[in-house]
Point group: C2
DNA sequence: GGAGAATGTAAGCAGTGCACACATGGAAGG
DNA sequence: CCTTCCATGTGTGCACTGCTTACATTCTCC
Protein backbone atom coordinates (compact mmCIF):
# COMPACT_ATOMS: atom_id res chain seq x y z
CA UNK A 1 0.00 0.00 0.00
CA UNK A 2 1.52 3.33 -1.02
CA UNK A 3 1.77 6.12 1.49
CA UNK A 4 -0.42 9.20 1.58
CA UNK A 5 1.21 12.56 0.78
CA UNK A 6 -0.08 15.88 -0.52
CA UNK A 7 0.44 14.59 -4.03
CA UNK A 8 -0.21 10.90 -3.71
CA UNK A 9 -3.56 10.06 -2.27
CA UNK A 10 -2.66 6.78 -0.62
CA UNK A 11 -5.60 4.61 -1.54
CA UNK A 12 -7.44 6.33 -4.33
CA UNK A 13 -9.04 3.15 -5.58
CA UNK A 14 -10.94 2.59 -2.34
CA UNK A 15 -11.71 6.30 -2.10
CA UNK A 16 -13.25 6.20 -5.58
CA UNK A 17 -15.41 3.24 -4.70
CA UNK A 18 -16.59 4.94 -1.53
CA UNK A 19 -17.29 8.19 -3.37
CA UNK A 20 -19.20 6.32 -6.04
CA UNK A 21 -21.34 4.57 -3.45
CA UNK A 22 -22.11 7.85 -1.71
CA UNK A 23 -23.12 9.50 -4.97
CA UNK A 24 -25.36 6.58 -5.88
CA UNK A 25 -27.06 6.67 -2.51
CA UNK A 26 -27.49 10.45 -2.53
CA UNK A 27 -29.07 10.71 -5.96
CA UNK A 28 -30.83 7.53 -6.92
CA UNK A 29 -31.67 8.77 -10.39
CA UNK A 30 -28.54 10.46 -11.72
CA UNK A 31 -26.03 8.46 -13.70
CA UNK A 32 -22.68 7.90 -12.07
CA UNK A 33 -20.05 10.24 -13.49
CA UNK A 34 -16.33 9.67 -13.40
CA UNK A 35 -15.67 13.36 -12.85
CA UNK A 36 -18.12 13.60 -9.98
CA UNK A 37 -16.37 10.68 -8.32
CA UNK A 38 -13.02 12.46 -8.76
CA UNK A 39 -14.41 15.67 -7.28
CA UNK A 40 -15.82 13.85 -4.28
CA UNK A 41 -12.50 12.08 -3.74
CA UNK A 42 -10.76 15.48 -3.88
CA UNK A 43 -8.62 14.61 -6.82
CA UNK A 44 -8.12 15.72 -10.43
CA UNK A 45 -10.77 14.68 -12.97
CA UNK A 46 -8.56 12.10 -14.64
CA UNK A 47 -6.92 10.58 -11.61
CA UNK A 48 -9.50 7.75 -11.25
CA UNK A 49 -8.47 6.50 -14.68
CA UNK A 50 -5.24 5.25 -13.10
CA UNK A 51 -7.31 2.69 -11.20
CA UNK A 52 -10.26 2.13 -13.53
CA UNK A 53 -9.41 2.08 -17.23
CA UNK A 54 -12.91 3.18 -18.11
CA UNK A 55 -16.18 4.14 -16.50
CA UNK A 56 -17.57 0.65 -16.95
CA UNK A 57 -14.79 -0.79 -14.81
CA UNK A 58 -15.69 1.47 -11.90
CA UNK A 59 -19.36 0.62 -12.26
CA UNK A 60 -18.52 -3.09 -12.37
CA UNK A 61 -16.50 -2.79 -9.17
CA UNK A 62 -19.31 -0.96 -7.41
CA UNK A 63 -21.78 -3.52 -8.72
CA UNK A 64 -19.70 -6.37 -7.33
CA UNK A 65 -19.84 -4.71 -3.92
CA UNK A 66 -23.58 -4.42 -4.36
CA UNK A 67 -23.93 -8.12 -5.08
CA UNK A 68 -22.08 -8.99 -1.90
CA UNK A 69 -24.30 -6.67 0.12
CA UNK A 70 -27.43 -8.09 -1.47
CA UNK A 71 -26.28 -11.61 -0.63
CA UNK A 72 -25.73 -10.59 3.00
CA UNK A 73 -29.11 -8.88 3.07
CA UNK A 74 -30.85 -12.04 1.85
CA UNK A 75 -28.98 -14.21 4.31
CA UNK A 76 -30.03 -11.84 7.09
CA UNK A 77 -33.66 -12.15 5.99
CA UNK A 78 -33.38 -15.91 6.31
CA UNK A 79 -30.27 -18.09 6.23
CA UNK A 80 -31.94 -21.17 4.82
CA UNK A 81 -35.53 -20.61 3.70
CA UNK A 82 -37.50 -23.76 3.01
CA UNK A 83 -41.20 -22.96 3.22
CA UNK A 84 -43.36 -20.69 1.05
CA UNK A 85 -43.58 -18.15 3.83
CA UNK A 86 -39.83 -18.06 4.28
CA UNK A 87 -39.34 -17.78 0.55
CA UNK A 88 -41.80 -14.88 0.49
CA UNK A 89 -39.83 -13.18 3.26
CA UNK A 90 -36.67 -13.44 1.18
CA UNK A 91 -38.53 -12.05 -1.81
CA UNK A 92 -39.61 -9.07 0.27
CA UNK A 93 -35.99 -8.53 1.33
CA UNK A 94 -34.83 -8.64 -2.30
CA UNK A 95 -37.37 -6.07 -3.41
CA UNK A 96 -36.66 -3.85 -0.42
CA UNK A 97 -32.96 -3.88 -1.20
CA UNK A 98 -33.73 -2.73 -4.73
CA UNK A 99 -36.00 0.06 -3.53
CA UNK A 100 -33.60 1.18 -0.79
CA UNK A 101 -30.63 1.32 -3.17
CA UNK A 102 -32.19 2.04 -6.57
CA UNK A 103 -29.10 3.43 -8.25
CA UNK A 104 -26.87 0.67 -6.94
CA UNK A 105 -29.38 -1.95 -8.03
CA UNK A 106 -29.51 -0.43 -11.51
CA UNK A 107 -25.73 -0.41 -11.67
CA UNK A 108 -25.77 -4.07 -10.74
CA UNK A 109 -28.23 -5.12 -13.41
CA UNK A 110 -29.15 -2.50 -15.96
CA UNK A 111 -25.69 -1.13 -16.79
CA UNK A 112 -23.70 -2.89 -19.45
CA UNK A 113 -21.35 -5.31 -17.78
CA UNK A 114 -18.11 -6.70 -19.02
CA UNK A 115 -18.55 -10.48 -18.72
CA UNK A 116 -14.81 -10.75 -18.20
CA UNK A 117 -14.94 -9.10 -14.78
CA UNK A 118 -14.26 -12.03 -12.47
CA UNK A 119 -15.05 -10.22 -9.24
CA UNK A 120 -18.46 -9.46 -10.63
CA UNK A 121 -19.07 -12.95 -11.95
CA UNK A 122 -18.15 -14.47 -8.60
CA UNK A 123 -20.47 -12.12 -6.75
CA UNK A 124 -23.36 -12.95 -9.06
CA UNK A 125 -22.68 -16.63 -8.63
CA UNK A 126 -23.04 -16.30 -4.85
CA UNK A 127 -26.59 -15.09 -5.28
CA UNK A 128 -27.40 -17.76 -7.82
CA UNK A 129 -26.10 -20.42 -5.43
CA UNK A 130 -28.24 -19.06 -2.61
CA UNK A 131 -31.35 -19.26 -4.79
CA UNK A 132 -30.45 -22.76 -6.02
CA UNK A 133 -30.08 -24.05 -2.45
CA UNK A 134 -33.32 -22.40 -1.48
CA UNK A 135 -35.12 -24.11 -4.33
CA UNK A 136 -33.64 -27.51 -3.51
CA UNK A 137 -34.86 -27.23 0.07
CA UNK A 138 -38.28 -25.76 -0.66
CA UNK A 139 -39.15 -27.89 -3.70
CA UNK A 140 -37.59 -31.31 -3.20
CA UNK A 141 -39.67 -32.85 -5.96
CA UNK A 142 -38.93 -30.32 -8.71
CA UNK A 143 -36.16 -29.99 -11.27
CA UNK A 144 -33.88 -27.50 -9.51
CA UNK A 145 -32.18 -26.32 -12.70
CA UNK A 146 -35.48 -25.29 -14.22
CA UNK A 147 -37.00 -23.87 -11.08
CA UNK A 148 -34.26 -21.74 -9.59
CA UNK A 149 -34.24 -19.50 -12.66
CA UNK A 150 -37.98 -19.11 -12.40
CA UNK A 151 -37.84 -18.20 -8.73
CA UNK A 152 -35.06 -15.68 -9.27
CA UNK A 153 -36.91 -14.21 -12.25
CA UNK A 154 -40.13 -13.89 -10.29
CA UNK A 155 -38.47 -11.98 -7.48
CA UNK A 156 -36.24 -9.98 -9.81
CA UNK A 157 -39.20 -9.02 -11.94
CA UNK A 158 -41.13 -7.83 -8.91
CA UNK A 159 -38.13 -5.73 -7.90
CA UNK A 160 -37.78 -4.05 -11.28
CA UNK A 161 -41.47 -3.48 -11.84
CA UNK A 162 -41.59 -1.67 -8.52
CA UNK A 163 -38.34 0.17 -9.17
CA UNK A 164 -39.51 1.35 -12.59
CA UNK A 165 -42.85 2.58 -11.33
CA UNK A 166 -44.97 -0.06 -13.08
CA UNK A 167 -46.29 -1.21 -9.72
CA UNK A 168 -47.07 1.18 -6.89
CA UNK A 169 -44.04 1.38 -4.60
CA UNK A 170 -44.95 4.42 -2.53
CA UNK A 171 -45.65 2.72 0.81
CA UNK A 172 -43.16 0.30 2.34
CA UNK A 173 -45.62 -2.02 4.03
CA UNK A 174 -47.90 -2.12 1.01
CA UNK A 175 -45.01 -3.21 -1.20
CA UNK A 176 -44.09 -5.95 1.25
CA UNK A 177 -47.67 -7.20 1.34
CA UNK A 178 -47.92 -7.07 -2.40
CA UNK A 179 -44.72 -9.06 -2.91
CA UNK A 180 -45.64 -11.64 -0.27
CA UNK A 181 -49.10 -12.09 -1.76
CA UNK A 182 -47.80 -12.39 -5.30
CA UNK A 183 -45.18 -14.99 -4.41
CA UNK A 184 -47.59 -17.08 -2.38
CA UNK A 185 -50.23 -16.86 -5.12
CA UNK A 186 -47.70 -18.03 -7.68
CA UNK A 187 -46.67 -20.99 -5.55
CA UNK A 188 -50.27 -21.96 -4.94
CA UNK A 189 -51.33 -21.48 -8.55
CA UNK A 190 -53.26 -24.42 -9.92
CA UNK A 191 -53.63 -23.98 -13.68
CA UNK A 192 -56.40 -25.57 -15.68
CA UNK A 193 -55.06 -28.71 -17.29
CA UNK B 1 -50.53 19.79 -40.84
CA UNK B 2 -48.00 22.36 -42.00
CA UNK B 3 -46.47 22.08 -45.41
CA UNK B 4 -42.95 20.87 -46.14
CA UNK B 5 -40.48 23.46 -47.47
CA UNK B 6 -36.72 23.78 -47.49
CA UNK B 7 -36.97 25.47 -44.11
CA UNK B 8 -40.00 23.87 -42.54
CA UNK B 9 -39.78 20.12 -42.32
CA UNK B 10 -43.46 19.32 -42.50
CA UNK B 11 -43.79 16.65 -39.87
CA UNK B 12 -40.69 16.76 -37.75
CA UNK B 13 -42.34 15.11 -34.77
CA UNK B 14 -43.01 11.89 -36.67
CA UNK B 15 -39.58 12.09 -38.31
CA UNK B 16 -37.95 12.31 -34.87
CA UNK B 17 -39.84 9.29 -33.61
CA UNK B 18 -38.86 7.31 -36.69
CA UNK B 19 -35.22 8.40 -36.41
CA UNK B 20 -35.19 7.49 -32.73
CA UNK B 21 -36.55 4.04 -33.47
CA UNK B 22 -33.96 3.48 -36.18
CA UNK B 23 -31.12 4.51 -33.89
CA UNK B 24 -32.37 2.24 -31.12
CA UNK B 25 -32.59 -0.71 -33.50
CA UNK B 26 -29.19 -0.05 -35.04
CA UNK B 27 -27.24 0.19 -31.82
CA UNK B 28 -28.87 -1.71 -29.02
CA UNK B 29 -26.39 -0.51 -26.44
CA UNK B 30 -25.89 3.20 -27.06
CA UNK B 31 -28.05 5.69 -25.23
CA UNK B 32 -30.48 7.66 -27.34
CA UNK B 33 -29.17 11.15 -28.00
CA UNK B 34 -31.27 14.15 -28.93
CA UNK B 35 -28.56 15.41 -31.27
CA UNK B 36 -28.23 12.08 -33.04
CA UNK B 37 -31.97 12.08 -33.65
CA UNK B 38 -31.73 15.58 -35.08
CA UNK B 39 -28.86 14.58 -37.37
CA UNK B 40 -30.74 11.56 -38.63
CA UNK B 41 -33.82 13.69 -39.29
CA UNK B 42 -31.62 16.12 -41.24
CA UNK B 43 -32.35 19.05 -39.00
CA UNK B 44 -30.52 21.36 -36.62
CA UNK B 45 -29.50 19.98 -33.21
CA UNK B 46 -32.12 21.93 -31.30
CA UNK B 47 -35.05 21.58 -33.68
CA UNK B 48 -36.49 18.47 -31.94
CA UNK B 49 -36.94 20.55 -28.79
CA UNK B 50 -39.86 22.27 -30.54
CA UNK B 51 -41.74 18.98 -30.36
CA UNK B 52 -40.27 17.37 -27.26
CA UNK B 53 -39.56 19.74 -24.38
CA UNK B 54 -36.84 17.45 -23.10
CA UNK B 55 -35.11 14.20 -23.87
CA UNK B 56 -37.35 12.30 -21.50
CA UNK B 57 -40.42 13.31 -23.50
CA UNK B 58 -39.01 11.82 -26.68
CA UNK B 59 -38.07 8.64 -24.87
CA UNK B 60 -41.54 8.42 -23.37
CA UNK B 61 -43.13 8.76 -26.79
CA UNK B 62 -40.91 6.05 -28.25
CA UNK B 63 -41.61 3.85 -25.24
CA UNK B 64 -45.35 4.22 -25.75
CA UNK B 65 -44.92 3.00 -29.31
CA UNK B 66 -42.92 0.09 -27.93
CA UNK B 67 -45.70 -0.88 -25.54
CA UNK B 68 -48.19 -0.99 -28.37
CA UNK B 69 -45.90 -3.17 -30.45
CA UNK B 70 -45.24 -5.49 -27.53
CA UNK B 71 -48.98 -5.86 -26.98
CA UNK B 72 -49.46 -6.75 -30.64
CA UNK B 73 -46.57 -9.18 -30.47
CA UNK B 74 -48.11 -10.97 -27.48
CA UNK B 75 -51.51 -11.09 -29.13
CA UNK B 76 -49.91 -12.59 -32.22
CA UNK B 77 -48.25 -15.27 -30.07
CA UNK B 78 -51.66 -16.21 -28.72
CA UNK B 79 -54.83 -14.11 -28.59
CA UNK B 80 -56.30 -15.76 -25.50
CA UNK B 81 -53.91 -18.15 -23.74
CA UNK B 82 -55.52 -20.37 -21.15
CA UNK B 83 -53.29 -23.39 -20.57
CA UNK B 84 -49.78 -23.60 -19.12
CA UNK B 85 -48.35 -24.35 -22.56
CA UNK B 86 -50.05 -21.35 -24.10
CA UNK B 87 -48.90 -19.18 -21.24
CA UNK B 88 -45.35 -20.44 -21.76
CA UNK B 89 -45.60 -19.55 -25.45
CA UNK B 90 -46.57 -16.01 -24.53
CA UNK B 91 -43.68 -15.85 -22.09
CA UNK B 92 -41.31 -16.88 -24.87
CA UNK B 93 -42.75 -14.16 -27.09
CA UNK B 94 -42.24 -11.55 -24.35
CA UNK B 95 -38.61 -12.50 -23.82
CA UNK B 96 -37.96 -12.65 -27.55
CA UNK B 97 -39.36 -9.16 -28.00
CA UNK B 98 -36.98 -7.91 -25.32
CA UNK B 99 -33.99 -9.62 -26.93
CA UNK B 100 -34.92 -8.52 -30.45
CA UNK B 101 -35.37 -4.88 -29.41
CA UNK B 102 -33.03 -4.48 -26.44
CA UNK B 103 -32.67 -0.72 -26.59
CA UNK B 104 -36.38 -0.16 -27.10
CA UNK B 105 -37.19 -2.50 -24.23
CA UNK B 106 -34.78 -0.64 -21.97
CA UNK B 107 -36.35 2.66 -22.98
CA UNK B 108 -39.74 1.21 -22.08
CA UNK B 109 -38.74 0.05 -18.62
CA UNK B 110 -35.34 1.15 -17.40
CA UNK B 111 -35.42 4.82 -18.38
CA UNK B 112 -36.97 7.25 -15.94
CA UNK B 113 -40.55 7.83 -16.97
CA UNK B 114 -42.77 10.77 -16.24
CA UNK B 115 -45.85 9.20 -14.65
CA UNK B 116 -47.90 12.06 -16.08
CA UNK B 117 -47.50 10.85 -19.66
CA UNK B 118 -50.98 9.59 -20.47
CA UNK B 119 -50.08 7.97 -23.78
CA UNK B 120 -47.55 5.90 -21.93
CA UNK B 121 -49.82 5.02 -19.03
CA UNK B 122 -52.53 3.88 -21.42
CA UNK B 123 -50.10 1.71 -23.36
CA UNK B 124 -48.84 0.07 -20.17
CA UNK B 125 -52.40 -0.55 -19.07
CA UNK B 126 -53.10 -2.49 -22.28
CA UNK B 127 -50.39 -4.99 -21.41
CA UNK B 128 -51.54 -5.25 -17.82
CA UNK B 129 -55.09 -5.96 -19.02
CA UNK B 130 -53.84 -8.69 -21.35
CA UNK B 131 -52.01 -10.40 -18.48
CA UNK B 132 -55.00 -10.03 -16.15
CA UNK B 133 -57.33 -11.69 -18.65
CA UNK B 134 -54.81 -14.42 -19.25
CA UNK B 135 -54.62 -15.13 -15.54
CA UNK B 136 -58.39 -15.18 -15.12
CA UNK B 137 -58.72 -17.74 -17.90
CA UNK B 138 -55.77 -19.91 -16.93
CA UNK B 139 -56.25 -19.88 -13.16
CA UNK B 140 -59.98 -19.73 -12.51
CA UNK B 141 -59.53 -20.67 -8.87
CA UNK B 142 -56.91 -18.09 -7.92
CA UNK B 143 -57.06 -14.48 -6.76
CA UNK B 144 -56.47 -12.65 -10.06
CA UNK B 145 -55.23 -9.43 -8.42
CA UNK B 146 -52.47 -11.28 -6.62
CA UNK B 147 -51.54 -13.60 -9.43
CA UNK B 148 -51.40 -11.34 -12.48
CA UNK B 149 -48.59 -9.33 -10.94
CA UNK B 150 -46.69 -12.52 -10.19
CA UNK B 151 -47.08 -13.81 -13.72
CA UNK B 152 -46.00 -10.51 -15.24
CA UNK B 153 -43.05 -10.34 -12.85
CA UNK B 154 -41.96 -13.86 -13.67
CA UNK B 155 -41.94 -13.20 -17.40
CA UNK B 156 -40.50 -9.71 -17.02
CA UNK B 157 -37.75 -11.00 -14.77
CA UNK B 158 -36.82 -13.68 -17.28
CA UNK B 159 -36.65 -11.02 -19.99
CA UNK B 160 -34.36 -8.74 -18.01
CA UNK B 161 -32.10 -11.46 -16.69
CA UNK B 162 -31.52 -12.57 -20.26
CA UNK B 163 -31.17 -9.01 -21.52
CA UNK B 164 -28.63 -8.14 -18.85
CA UNK B 165 -26.52 -11.21 -19.45
CA UNK B 166 -27.30 -12.94 -16.16
CA UNK B 167 -28.70 -15.90 -18.06
CA UNK B 168 -27.22 -17.19 -21.28
CA UNK B 169 -29.06 -15.61 -24.20
CA UNK B 170 -26.71 -16.49 -27.05
CA UNK B 171 -28.86 -19.07 -28.87
CA UNK B 172 -32.45 -18.30 -29.81
CA UNK B 173 -33.86 -21.77 -29.42
CA UNK B 174 -32.03 -22.38 -26.15
CA UNK B 175 -33.54 -19.22 -24.69
CA UNK B 176 -37.01 -20.29 -25.77
CA UNK B 177 -36.55 -23.72 -24.20
CA UNK B 178 -35.18 -22.20 -21.05
CA UNK B 179 -38.11 -19.80 -20.68
CA UNK B 180 -40.69 -22.48 -21.43
CA UNK B 181 -39.13 -24.87 -18.94
CA UNK B 182 -38.87 -22.23 -16.22
CA UNK B 183 -42.48 -21.13 -16.59
CA UNK B 184 -43.82 -24.67 -16.61
CA UNK B 185 -41.66 -25.60 -13.62
CA UNK B 186 -42.97 -22.63 -11.71
CA UNK B 187 -46.58 -23.52 -12.45
CA UNK B 188 -46.01 -27.14 -11.46
CA UNK B 189 -44.05 -26.28 -8.33
CA UNK B 190 -45.30 -28.09 -5.27
CA UNK B 191 -43.65 -26.55 -2.24
CA UNK B 192 -43.18 -28.41 1.03
CA UNK B 193 -45.94 -27.36 3.36
C1' DG C 1 21.79 7.96 -4.53
C1' DG C 2 19.98 7.05 -9.10
C1' DA C 3 16.64 4.58 -12.32
C1' DG C 4 12.25 3.29 -13.31
C1' DA C 5 7.64 2.33 -12.23
C1' DA C 6 3.47 3.94 -10.05
C1' DT C 7 0.42 7.47 -9.45
C1' DG C 8 -0.89 11.89 -9.56
C1' DT C 9 -1.98 16.71 -12.61
C1' DA C 10 -3.12 19.82 -16.77
C1' DA C 11 -4.83 20.66 -21.09
C1' DG C 12 -7.63 19.42 -24.86
C1' DC C 13 -11.03 16.90 -28.00
C1' DA C 14 -15.46 15.37 -29.24
C1' DG C 15 -19.77 14.60 -27.65
C1' DT C 16 -24.01 15.66 -24.81
C1' DG C 17 -28.61 18.29 -22.93
C1' DC C 18 -30.54 22.40 -22.98
C1' DA C 19 -31.42 27.80 -22.82
C1' DC C 20 -31.49 31.70 -25.47
C1' DA C 21 -31.83 34.95 -29.33
C1' DC C 22 -32.86 35.07 -34.04
C1' DA C 23 -34.75 33.60 -38.91
C1' DT C 24 -38.42 31.91 -41.88
C1' DG C 25 -42.64 31.41 -43.83
C1' DG C 26 -47.72 30.01 -43.59
C1' DA C 27 -52.28 31.61 -42.15
C1' DA C 28 -55.63 34.94 -40.34
C1' DG C 29 -57.56 39.66 -40.31
C1' DG C 30 -57.71 44.25 -42.12
C1' DC D 1 -53.17 42.37 -51.30
C1' DC D 2 -50.64 43.00 -47.52
C1' DT D 3 -49.48 43.07 -42.84
C1' DT D 4 -48.93 40.88 -38.66
C1' DC D 5 -48.58 36.98 -35.69
C1' DC D 6 -46.91 32.69 -34.41
C1' DA D 7 -45.48 27.94 -35.09
C1' DT D 8 -41.42 26.01 -36.37
C1' DG D 9 -37.07 26.11 -37.81
C1' DT D 10 -31.53 27.79 -37.09
C1' DG D 11 -27.16 29.36 -34.50
C1' DT D 12 -24.66 30.22 -30.60
C1' DG D 13 -23.18 29.30 -26.14
C1' DC D 14 -22.75 27.10 -21.49
C1' DA D 15 -21.85 23.46 -18.43
C1' DC D 16 -21.13 18.92 -18.32
C1' DT D 17 -19.40 14.29 -19.78
C1' DG D 18 -15.72 10.25 -21.09
C1' DC D 19 -11.29 9.74 -22.44
C1' DT D 20 -6.42 10.76 -24.56
C1' DT D 21 -2.09 12.63 -24.38
C1' DA D 22 1.80 14.94 -22.29
C1' DC D 23 3.90 16.14 -18.08
C1' DA D 24 4.93 16.16 -12.78
C1' DT D 25 5.80 13.96 -8.52
C1' DT D 26 6.95 10.48 -5.43
C1' DC D 27 7.69 5.51 -4.04
C1' DT D 28 10.58 1.54 -4.50
C1' DC D 29 14.25 -1.17 -5.50
C1' DC D 30 18.98 -1.88 -6.76
Amino acid sequence: MPQATAYHHGDLRAACLRAARELLEEDGSAALSMRAVARRAGVSPTAPYRHFPEREALVSAVAAEGYRELAEHLLAAHPSPATPNELAAVAVAYVRFALDHPALFRAMFAEPCDPGNEERAAATEAIAAYVRDLVRRAFPGADPDALWTAVWALVHGLAFLHLDGKLDASAHEAVADQVRTAVLAMLAAAPVS
